[in-house]
């Protein structure tokens, strides 16, 4: 579904990605784990066309989308739940969800809203509340629900566990699994919480300094002693 070939990009003269090859197949959850500054977020952003790739290709469902403007890319069945959630704080939950459906057919709105609220019943209770008054976990739910409102085939999730209590993280990851399994949405997940991410993912990649250092199935990577030493021990369970 999504294929990255020799992707390079960065900010100004600073290069953040040094040739990434990666594939996400239909129906999969693929995760990218790695330390701060490894280039995970940049990778997701480059897929969305901001920053533009300086070399290499992004191919979505056979179509080269490398050079497209962000707002065109985001209309091709990709949705992005950005790092730090970035919900609209002064707008209500319902308005946030409406914004998520900005590019979708308005005829779907009611059905999509119901689907999103079934997934996150908590949001249903808070529809008239302003986004900024939600708790961190609820804001993350809203960010994911908002991304789903455009009926994406591929969902890019950037650190959904950021700053959340362990119990909430577990709940969010449960829902991500549901979105993938029951709604057939392909997911590319960027995470620092390697333990949860790898347990959830079909396949995983470890990023180090803008390159992919290790790849394998989620279970393989979880069992890898090097990964345990670097990313898991201490932070796990």
């Amino acid at each position: 579904m999504l294929k990255l070939e020799g992707l390079r990009s960065g900010y100004g003269r600073i290069q953040a990605l040094h040739g990434i090859d990666l594939e996400v197949r239909e129906g999969e959850i693929v995760t990218l784990v790695g330390a701060n500054g490894a280039g995970k977020t940049t990778l997701l952003m480059t897929i969305c066309g901001d920053p533009r790739a300086s070399a290499g290709r992004v191919v979505l469902g056979g179509e080269d989308i490398t050079g497209l403007a962000t707002h065109h890319i985001m209309r091709k069945g990709i949705a992005h739940s950005p790092e730090g959630r970035r919900i609209f704080p002064r707008m209500t939950v319902l308005e946030n969800l409406q914004m998520g459906a900005a590019t979708a057919d308005p005829a779907h709105f009611d059905a999509d809203l119901k689907r999103a609220l079934d997934l996150f019943p908590r949001l249903n209770e808070r529809l008239d509340q302003r986004g900024g008054t939600l708790s961190g976990g609820e804001q993350q739910m809203l960010a994911i629900a908002r991304a789903l409102m455009s009926r994406p085939r591929l969902l890019l999730l950037d650190e959904p566990s950021l700053g959340l209590a362990p119990l909430v993280v577990r709940h969010i990851f449960e829902i991500i699994r549901t979105i993938n399994r029951d709604q057939g949405v392909t997911i590319l997940l960027v995470e620092q919480n390697a333990y949860h991410a790898l347990r959830l993912a079909h396949r995983g990649h470890v990023m180090v300094n803008g390159r992919i250092a290790l790849s394998g199935s989620g279970a393989e990577l979880l069992a890898n002693p090097e990964i345990r030493a670097h990313y898991l021990d201490g932070g796990a369970a």
Binding site: P82, I87, L94, E95, A102, T103
Partner: protein, 412 residues
Amino acid sequence: MRGPVRDAALAAFVAAALALPMLGFRLVDSASGLTLAGRFDLVAWAAGLVFAGRLGLRLLGGLLPSLPALPAPPARLGDMRRHAGWALTAFALVLPFLPFADRNLVDKATLVLIYVMLGWGLNIVVGLAGLLDLGFVAFYAVGAYSYALLSQTFGLSFWVCLPLAGLFAALFGLVLGFPVLRLRGDYIAIVTMGLGEIIRVVLQNWQDVTGGPNGITGIERPSLFGLSFKATAPEGQRTFAEFFGLEFSGDHRVIFLYFLILALALATNLFTLRIRRLPVGRAWEALREDEIACRSLGINPTMVKLSAFALGAMFAGFAGSFFATRQGFISPESFTFHESAVILAIVVLGGMGSQIGIVLAALLLVGLPEWFRELQQFRMLAFGGAMVLIMLWKPAGLLSRRDPTIRLGDAG
């Protein structure tokens, strides 16, 4: 105690430094020509007042926000505000016919309404889309000059020129919007301020077309469906007084102009209220909240910003052509940066995005100074003081609560 005193002393020092050149010297016409005389007692007064004021503010400052005990906001504030809106509209409709309403009052109300309309127009750009525009008066000027020039060159009537003036202003909004697209926040303010000044300077210097600093005089007054408001109608027209069998009075035109700007302002308000519920309007607000999130949702920020700029400018253009037809005379002096600042102050004091807040702020900032003309040179001091007090009392503006555009019941 030492902290506040030091702070107040510092403020007094700044005040003295400012007052010295502004108040401290005075040119005296004496036998030997102009000489400089000192008025240092005034400087001392200024410094003393600032010291006392600052100290008082610091000591009582904690009390200030709680001092004026506002009624607690009712559960459905939106409803109350809607009722207030209807009440204000009804009042505005009957105002010219009230017993105490003389020509002077209606004239001042017209002036306030111009600023209400400008505030509502700028609110689209600043309050909804969050683009800090300090050059809004440029579009007001474009509207005014569009009408004046079209009317004088081609003899077009006000009613033909009004939409054209709006269109021209919107086009200028698009053109001036482009350089602003890549900028954010404070930088937008600086660039728009510069663009606003450019327009004024062009108007001032393009003598052949705009008349330069002399401006344009004898601008055609508007008619009501071909009925003139002059004492004697031009060839082939009838006067308003004749048609309705009234005795001619200059008040008719004043009242007509009042209703004209009321209609234009209400149209602006209606437009804003409607568009907030449409995808474009929602995208403006979302863009104000978080541009990156907007992009990740597939929204094209370029289109959203340009549409806000152009539509805001359009309403300024309408207001500008009304201004031109009301005054009958325009010159670049009416379109200085000060005007932009006042309009922006109206939007900010009103609470960024609140329609009724803007009405209140316009009444305060434009209406009060007009009524307090007796204060003469202290007028602007009162104006500045009022602004400082409002910001201390309600830092987010008079009515800063944002009404949601959709509620649970509406969504189904």
